[in-house]
Each structure stands twice: as structure tokens, then as C-alpha cells.
Amino acid sequence: MRFRFELFVALSMVCLAVGCDGRPPTYLVHGMVVFPDGKPLTSGTIEFEALNQKKPITASSEIATDGTFQLGTFAPNDGAIAGEHRVAVISDFEIGTGIERPEELPPERLHLKYRDFKTSGLKYVIKPQTTNILVEVEYAPPKDTKDDTKTPPTRAGD
């Protein structure tokens, strides 16, 4: 009996330490975002939203300068849950460089359709194992960004 009691205490301590929160398990997902010519997308955010969930469960990651990412759902880099996901890739310019002024924006590199889950057309199935994913994206068509920056320029350079 005494042994059983100790076992119970030990188990409850383990449970307290690990935390019984009933979250779905996540699996490590590494990946890389590349353009058709093999060059990586060097900045931005990638988001994987699990389909067929009661509440959306989103895994996201910042894209590193070499184009790689490692998804995190409940903590940074902890992976994604298993199942089918739709994917969005957003690559805005980093603020603080002075280029948040519309008249000074360089042309968009990534096609803007990837900003939205509905229009990105990217879908991946995460299997319950460590996964490597290559996300292939297209360049923006040359004049795509004009519509978004139709603000009349104020005083440039201030």
C-alpha cells in the first residue's frame, strides 16, 4: 500500500510539473520559402492554419534571412499540430528603416496573393513526425504594388 501511495504522489508531481492542459500534440516543422529561381524569401512571416478545427489553431514563424523558418504553435519553435493546413506568407518591409513612407517603398518582391489564406492556394499536410517543408512562392508581377501606394507623396525625405 505504501508503495502505491508513493507512486500516486510521484505521478501527481509529474503531472503538476508537465502540466495536464489537454492541448493537441505538436510536431516539429522546419522549412524554407523559395522563389521559382531558387532564391529564398529573406524576410517576413509564415502562418499555417489547421483546417477542420473548432477554433482556428495557427502556427507561425518569422522567416529568417536565409529563407528558413521553424513553426511554433503554443510556444516559439514547438511545431504544428498534425493535419491539413492552409498557408499564408506575408513579407512586409521592416519598419524603422525609414521606408514606411509610401513614396520611398521599394517594389514588392512577393506576390500579394500570399497575404491571405483564401487566395494563397498553398496547402500542406503535416504528418505526426518531424517534417521538412519547401514552400514555393512566386514573385510579384512588376506593377502589382501601384494600387496600394496611391497616397499623394507628402514632403519626401522628411
Binding site: 495557427t58 499564408a88 518591409f93 524603422g96 525609414g98 520611398e104 497616397t151
Partner: protein, 320 residues
């Protein structure tokens, strides 16, 4: 006590005390009880700090509501580039008129007095995050081809206004879809070409906000005004992420994005720069246009978060 041969014996060594096992067991039980209790105590303490944080946001929210009553418009995120930010403009409504009077509204941030720049006020700090230091340390990554602003220290803050999430690349410009955007200002022409430090002084003649409650066409109760800024501990006091809050030069210091591409940071060490995020456990606090303060799960889908930060996306907000 009696010894084996029946004689009464008072020698202390033979007195019946606790055995080692008994002592260890009782210590173990006490240890388990304390171990059970400590997390609860810590949670209660954190809960108290969270309540204080929400109270801070409530005060900020009341400040904005009163600003709106006075001027019939929301405070702009900044009056104009280089001048001052929303956090300073609502000070008279946070009972800090005297601090506000120290500021010369015609001058750029870089030309203000130490009192105006460096005085910190308690409602701008979340107790879970920090109890100091309150002055900015440096500007990192501001030396760009477009602009060079050196560092002039000022007080920081843990809250930033919502800059929406778009259109791509121009957040916090006047086209941003957040509730608070840059003001419509008239200034003197600068006397020195841009790109010099300190930025050339030009008087701010007048400014007007571009948004008011009637521009929150998604509904004031569905639009985020101000929320907790995500700042990694290693970036405290460093612009753009955590620069001087009264400085209208660096949007990354006084505003944050939320929505597609800008999830709420999940923990204090998340690498994101321009996002909302808190040091509370899985909850980030926001104040909405109707004056309410809500804790939102940091795992909220970015699509829904985007509908909350955008003032004019015409989308239905699901339960969040």
C-alpha cells in the same frame, strides 16, 4: 520511561523522541504542501499584476475617450513625423497637464526639455514587465539611406496604439487601416535638407487627426485602440521596438500591428518586432473603441485579430 530492568531512568539519551523516518516523512509532507501552494500564490500575485495592467489600459482608454469628447476626434498616432505621439497628446486627460505644459508643441521631439522627455507616468507601465529603467537607451537600426536620427533619451512605455496591418509595407503611414493614424499637419519648410542629425527644426503650425469614432465603421466595440507592445527583454529601451514613447519619429516605439503577418507574440522571447504581445501568461490585454478592456488569447487566429485591428475592413468579427 523505564529502562529494561524496571528502574526509572531520566537520562536524556533514552527519552522517546521522533525517529529519523518520522521527521523525514513530516518534512516531506510539509514540502509537498508548500509545493502545492506556491504556484497558487504566484498565480494570485500575477493575477493582481494583470489586474493593474488592465487598469492602466482602462485609464488610457478613458484618456482617449475624453480626448475625443474635447476635440471630436481620436488622438493621431503621432501629430506628425518627428513631433509627438498619441501617448503624449492624451496626457492632459490622464491628469498630467503640468507635464504636458512642459512641451513646446511647435518643436520636434529632439528639441524638447529633459522634463518633458524623461518624466515617466505609472499608467504606461505593465507591472508584470518592468519596474524600471524607464529611459530609452539607444536607437538601433535607424541609420538608413532615408533618415538618420540620433538618440535623445526619453521615457518608454509598455503600450502601443493599433496601426492595423495594412496596406502592405506602409503601416503607420496615413493609409494605415488602424484606428489611430498619423495626423494631418502643416509645418514650416525645413531649413536643412533631411538626413541630418538632429533632424532640422521646423515649426509645427497645426495638426488635425484623420480619424474619429465615426471612422470606426466596423463598430467601436470591434476595433482595438491600444494594446500591450511586444518587446523582448534584450530590446528594452532600444528603438524601434522600445524607444521613447513621446517621440513621434519611430512608429515601432509607439504603435503595433496585429493581423495577418502580425500574430500576437506567444512569449516574452518571441522574435517578432512590430507585434502586440505581453509578459502575462498567454493573454495580451487590449482596449477597444467602446472603452472596454479585454484580455485576448495570444493564440487568436491572425485573421480575427486583423478584423479587430482594422477600423474599416467591413468584415464580421467572430467570437474572440
Amino acid at each position: 520511561m523505564y529502562s529494561s530492568h524496571g528502574k526509572r531512568c531520566l537520562q536524556p539519551l533514552e527519552r522517546r523522541g521522533f525517529t529519523l523516518i518520522e521527521l523525514l516523512v513530516s518534512i516531506a509532507i510539509i514540502g509537498v504542501l508548500i509545493a502545492l501552494m506556491l504556484p497558487a500564490v504566484q498565480q494570485a500575485r500575477e493575477q493582481a499584476r494583470m489586474t493593474q495592467c488592465r487598469n492602466n489600459l482602462k485609464q488610457i482608454s478613458m484618456g482617449i475617450q475624453n480626448f475625443h469628447s474635447q476635440y471630436n476626434e481620436l488622438p493621431p498616432s503621432r501629430s506628425y513625423d518627428h513631433y509627438t505621439s498619441w501617448a503624449f497628446l492624451i496626457l492632459p486627460f490622464l491628469e498630467n497637464v503640468n507635464l504636458f505644459e512642459n512641451w513646446d508643441p511647435e518643436l520636434k521631439y529632439y528639441y524638447q526639455s529633459d522634463t518633458a522627455r524623461l518624466t515617466h507616468i505609472p499608467p504606461y507601465f505593465c507591472p508584470t514587465r518592468r519596474s524600471g529603467p524607464f529611459a530609452s537607451i539607444e536607437n538601433a537600426a535607424v541609420l538608413s539611406p532615408y533618415e538618420t536620427s540620433g538618440h535623445v533619451p526619453g521615457t518608454v512605455a509598455d503600450y502601443g496604439c493599433s496601426a492595423g496591418y495594412g496596406p502592405p509595407g506602409v503601416w503607420n503611414w496615413i493609409t494605415s487601416n488602424g484606428a489611430m493614424v498619423m495626423g494631418d499637419a502643416t509645418t514650416d519648410p525645413p531649413t536643412v535638407p533631411a538626413g541630418n542629425y538632429p533632424p532640422p527644426q521646423a515649426r509645427l503650425l497645426r495638426f488635425k487627426s484623420r480619424t474619429s469614432f465615426k471612422d470606426l465603421i466596423d463598430g467601436a466595440s470591434n476595433t482595438i485602440l491600444v494594446g500591450e507592445k511586444h518587446v523582448r527583454p534584450s530590446r528594452w529601451g532600444i528603438a524601434q521596438e522600445d524607444g521613447a514613447i513621446y517621440n513621434g519619429d519611430h512608429p515601432g516605439s509607439f504603435s503595433r500591428c496585429g493581423g495577418p503577418g502580425y500574430p500576437i507574440a506567444r512569449s516574452a522571447t518571441d522574435v517578432y518586432r512590430d507585434n502586440f504581445g505581453s509578459y502575462h501568461n498567454e493573454i495580451c490585454n487590449f482596449t477597444l473603441g467602446d472603452g472596454s478592456v479585454r484580455g485576448i488569447s495570444v493564440y487568436i487566429a491572425t485573421e480575427i485579430l486583423g478584423r479587430l485591428t482594422a477600423r474599416n475592413d467591413n468584415e464580421v468579427v467572430e467570437e474572440f
